[in-house]
């Protein structure tokens, strides 16, 4: 048998480890310890569904050298809806000098034993990267399929980038190439919030119906979701408590488009990354989108494109309806190249029974098989990518 490197101990997080975890996360979240501390506080210490925080730490001596965090979620499924608290294993980090020593396996084995004692039947992962995904499959996780990302590429941003490149190579003009007013063309990775009213006092309006704001109207959004109803597929509970918490992620920035008539008739949430480690800030995700009609839905989408013509918009489409997919296609969203193979960075939904002895055919919530994407209603806000 392989020898597990001795000297490691797996423990659960206690507040005494806070400083070590924040430091460890400089390998993953951001190089900024203050930002990491804020993220830890938001994601774990203020998570509405899992208290106290549940993080499995690998200690070598007294030093924290690895971590797998779990965050709490609350799923609803069926008609009438049943609700269930769940667990999503998320951030995984091992300091470089302790990698390839079986620590991930050891942490996850400890985690599964502990989660079984705590009574959790399943775990869910919505943000595994290509390396973690393969490691998870090796530990008995199964993929329900790709999130089917689609992408709206800003031709205008590409056009201005081309102008700048040409200017840089042109005699006499090259020295001015970087002084052209790109900031106004969105080329400087400007904050999404710059698109809103800069003094934040008054919401920006698009037409007579759409307001653009920096904060969530959690109560109104929850009422709208409740009014629209639920088809019984597995989804996250999006009540006021969840929405109030969810959009406080300090590693992300959000912008909200609201369609108002007598009541709120729809909303669309844009998200941008803040951390230096994150993907390009020119990339913006549509992380949630609700509307009472296709007309409102289309209006919100067109407003989002009009509002941010210099960014690349992304959305997960695996579980949205045909009408909405057609709408996305009509405004120019294209499927992100869907290849097979291990090197494809393809977001997917992974599930696993906490107990290893439960046959895969029995993995279900309310008779809905977990490995079947058709049983899910997935939005990017359920994942920490969004």
């Amino acid at each position: 048998m392989a020898k597990m490197n001795p000297g490691y101990e797996i423990v659960t997080y206690q507040p005494d480890f806070r400083k070590d975890v924040v430091e460890l996360q400089k390998n993953l979240w951001s190089p900024d310890a203050e930002l990491n501390a804020a993220y830890l506080e938001w994601k774990h210490e203020r998570n509405p569904y899992l208290q106290p925080p549940l993080l499995y730490l690998a200690l070598h001596g007294q030093k924290v050298v690895g971590m797998r965090s779990m965050f709490g979620v609350r799923w609803e499924f069926g008609i009438p809806a049943k609700r269930m608290s769940g667990i999503c294993p998320d951030d995984l980090v091992i300091v470089p000098e302790h990698r390839n020593r079986g620590l991930i396996t050891k942490m996850m084995k400890s985690a599964f034993e502990d989660l079984e004692k705590r009574g959790y039947p399943y775990v869910f992962s919505l943000s595994a990267g290509k390396i973690t995904r393969l490691g998870s499959l090796a530990m008995g996780w199964r993929s329900a399929g790709s999130m089917q990302p689609r992408h709206w590429h800003s031709r205008r941003a590409e056009y201005f980038q081309r102008i700048r490149n040409i200017a840089r190579e042109t005699r006499f003009i090259w020295r001015y190439a970087d002084k052209l007013p790109y900031r106004h063309w969105g080329m400087s990775q400007e904050s999404l919030h710059g698109l809103c009213n800069p003094n934040g006092m008054r919401p920006k309006k698009i037409g007579s119906r759409i307001s653009v704001e920096q904060g969530p109207r959690a109560g109104e959004m929850a009422n709208l979701i409740s009014r629209i109803g639920h088809d019984g597929r597995i989804r996250h509970v999006r009540d006021e408590e969840y929405l109030s918490w969810r959009f406080r992620n300090p590693l992300h920035r959000y912008l909200f488009l609201y369609w108002e008539e007598k009541d709120l008739e729809g909303y669309l949430v844009l998200q941008q990354y803040v951390s230096e480690y994150s993907l390009s800030k020119v990339r913006v995700n549509i992380v949630d989108w609700e509307a009472t009609s296709l007309r409102v839905r289309a209006g919100l989408l067109r407003a989002a494109i009009r509002l941010s013509p210099f960014v690349d918009l992304n959305i997960w489409t695996a579980t949205i309806g045909a009408e909405t997919k057609n709408l996305l296609r009509d405004v120019g969203f294209q499927p992100v190249h869907e290849g097979v193979g291990v090197d494809q960075e393809q977001p997917c939904l992974l599930v696993r029974s906490v107990r290893a002895d439960v046959p895969e055919v029995e993995w279900s919530l309310g008779n809905r098989r977990l490995q079947d994407m058709a049983n899910w209603d997935i939005r990017m806000i359920y994942s920490m990518q969004g």
Partner: protein, 85 residues
């Protein structure tokens, strides 16, 4: 040169490079995955190697690495099956 090596030699070399911090002697039936010997990154490199050797992309929806790749013997069988297919 890698071209002169057998597929088994190339696999063993890859695994030895990926597990150089371990004190385990790699045998045909040494558990690679269930034992935790191969970490996520090692597994990822192995998967890339398999794709290169077989010239085909892996279908992750149906892949069960712990079952199919837990030993050198298992990996070679997997590769042979994909080369035939």
């Amino acid at each position: 040169m890698s071209g002169d090596m057998s597929i088994r030699d190339r696999l063993v070399r890859l695994l030895e490079e990926g597990t150089k911090d371990s004190v385990v002697e790699l045998g045909d039936d040494t558990s690679l995955i269930r034992s935790g010997l191969l970490d996520s990154l090692g597994l990822f490199r192995l998967a890339l190697w398999i794709e290169k050797e077989t010239g085909s992309r892996l279908d992750l929806e149906s892949l069960d690495p712990a079952k199919e790749w837990d030993s050198i013997e298992g990996i070679l069988t997997f590769v042979a099956k994909h080369l035939e297919g």
